[in-house]
């Protein structure tokens, strides 16, 4: 606990130093506020537009959460299917790589056309790009079970479902969490990018990405900074929620969680 407080204090010290540096740059180079507002201007913007900032944050958080949960559910189901045979993997795995390499900006207009602008289109875009790491990591965890453990199960005449649900699936949980950790970052980024393309201007539907677009078109640079700050807060929260869940599910038995206790 003491160590954690220390780490927090260190991080805050770095933050304060950055703010000071920021202010110094403004003083020394006389940067106009529409290029780089002062930290205080950003703080004022946060206070003045807090309700709309919070609403944009909530919308993007919701889209990202829906995308992440959907990608976990779908990703695990696909991975369970992939784990059935090497033949299935060889046939279908290239398509998950395709999913990863297709630039989302290229298919966003299509999704916009099919689903229409709005939160569902944004969540769909975020879902598509957060899916591949879940599939890849979970599949890896399902198929990388040591041979002797499989033999142990065979010696007890284990059925296929028993092998899958009592051996492969629990064995894959740490890998699944690696995937979720990666996907949690991507889901947030995906939602913001999605909003740039498919965000809706309707009241109560514009998320952070949409607001960023709007603020930049109006040269409201201080508010733009506040919005960027909000995306950082969102990304951090997602990451730490996932880290906490990982610790919660794995700390009793898994080595990676053990290390976290020591830190």
């Amino acid at each position: 606990m003491k160590q954690r407080l220390r780490a927090l204090a260190d991080a805050l010290a770095v933050f304060a130093a950055l703010l000071l540096l920021w202010q110094l740059i403004l003083w020394v180079f006389h940067v106009p506020p529409y290029m780089l507002p002062s930290p205080w201007a950003v703080a004022r913007a946060v206070r003045a537009r807090f309700p709309s900032l919070l609403s944009a944050l909530a919308i993007t958080a919701m889209e990202s959460a829906v995308a992440l949960v959907a990608s976990i559910v779908v990703g695990v189901i696909v991975a369970l299917f992939f784990a059935q045979s090497r033949w299935v993997r060889r046939m279908l795995y290239p398509y998950t790589i395709l999913l990863q390499t297709v630039p989302i900006v290229a298919i966003a207009p299509l999704i916009l056309m099919w689903v229409g602008a709005g939160t569902s289109a944004v969540a769909l875009i975020a879902f598509i790009i957060s899916l591949p790491p879940i599939i890849a990591n979970t599949t890896q965890g399902l198929v990388s079970v040591e041979e002797n453990l499989v033999h142990l199960f065979l010696m007890h005449n284990a059925t296929r479902p028993q092998l899958l649900f009592k051996l492969r699936l629990p064995h894959a949980v740490p890998s699944l969490f690696v995937g979720i950790r990666i996907a949690s970052g991507i889901a947030v980024i995906g939602s913001i990018i999605g909003e740039l393309f498919a965000g809706s201007s309707r009241v109560g539907q514009g998320g952070l990405g949409y607001s960023i677009l709007y603020a930049s078109s109006q040269l409201q640079t201080a508010y733009l900074f506040a919005l960027v700050l909000a995306t950082v807060v969102l990304g951090f929260s997602f990451f730490y929620v996932v880290i906490f869940l990982e610790w919660y599910f794995l700390h009793r038995w898994h080595e990676s969680a053990l290390k976290m206790e020591v830190e």
């Binding site: 040591e146 002797n148 453990l149 033999h151 142990l152 199960f153 065979l154 010696m155 007890h156 005449n157 284990a158 028993q162 009592k166 051996l167 629990p170 064995h171 949980v173 009793r252 038995w253 898994h254 080595e255 053990l258």
Partner: protein, 257 residues
């Protein structure tokens, strides 16, 4: 009155295993193991001793020859076989007690009789106080005890062991050897035991099969007629030492060949 001929538990005839590359791991091995025997397979690496064990368990298929386990094919005989691997093969997400109960669980035994049986087995291997611990909290010797308890949970009549104590320090290994014999005296299973250690083989076995490599084949069969039950004190006797020397000589001869 002559004693009745012992009934065979395992009959290997002409057992041959070749890899896809054409390398012969085992070359027409003939071996009969009677019920109640404790047979050790010992030999240089590459002599096919682990392969022979996997073939008896039906975890690998022979290239030629036949295997009969209590009159059945290896796969059909799995109900009466337990296999103990070189590593303890515990499931890290399960507690000690849940690990011991794995075999019973897979075979459909309900949770209440399972709990009773696993508690009894944990007591038998001296780990009742660790029932709710996770494997990562155990020492190597403790993990192996859990593995043994799990193997015994399904009341096997044949125990196949693939260098189970190879990774342990000598003291834990000696202690587990003694425990293994104590358990055997109570439960009367037949055992096939693969090892690198001559002393361990002599201490445990009623018969030692020395294998030679390239291709793997039987080099010598040495019965160990030391009296049962055997205790730690046996290791200090000249009879024990004489057997160790005899087996070591055979092993050296197998290496030179």
């Amino acid at each position: 009155m002559t004693p009745e001929p012992a009934t065979p538990m395992i009959e290997l005839s002409g057992l041959t295993k070749r890899y896809g590359s054409g390398q012969t791991i085992l070359d027409s091995m003939n071996l009969t193991i009677s019920k109640g025997e404790f047979v050790s397979l010992i030999g240089p690496s590459g002599c096919g001793k682990s392969t022979a064990l996997k073939l008896i368990a039906g975890l690998a298929l022979p290239s030629a020859g036949t295997i009969s386990v209590d009159g059945m094919t290896p796969k059909n005989a799995r109900e009466i076989i337990s296999f103990i691997f070189q590593d303890a093969t515990l499931l890290p997400w399960r507690t000690v007690q849940q690990n011991v109960g794995l075999g019973l669980e897979l075979e459909g035994v309900g949770s209440k009789p399972r709990k009773e049986k696993t508690s009894r087995l944990l007591e038998l291997v001296g780990l009742q106080h660790m029932a709710d611990a996770y494997p990562r909290e155990l020492s190597g010797g403790m993990k192996m005890r859990v593995s043994i308890a799990r193997a015994l949970s399904t009341s096997p009549r044949l125990l196949l062991m693939d260098e189970p104590f190879a990774a342990l320090d000598e003291m834990s290994r000696d202690r587990l050897n003694e425990e293994l014999l104590r358990l055997r005296a109570e439960q009367k299973w037949t055992a096939v035991f693969v090892t690198h250690s001559v002393a361990e083989a002599v201490f445990l076995s009623t018969r030692i099969i020395v294998l030679a490599s390239n291709p793997g084949r039987i080099h010598a069969v040495i019965p160990i007629e030391l009296p049962l039950p055997r205790t730690a004190a046996l290791r200090d006797t000249p009879e024990f030492e004489a057997r160790v020397i005899q087996v070591s000589h055979a092993l050296r001869a197998a290496l030179v060949q």
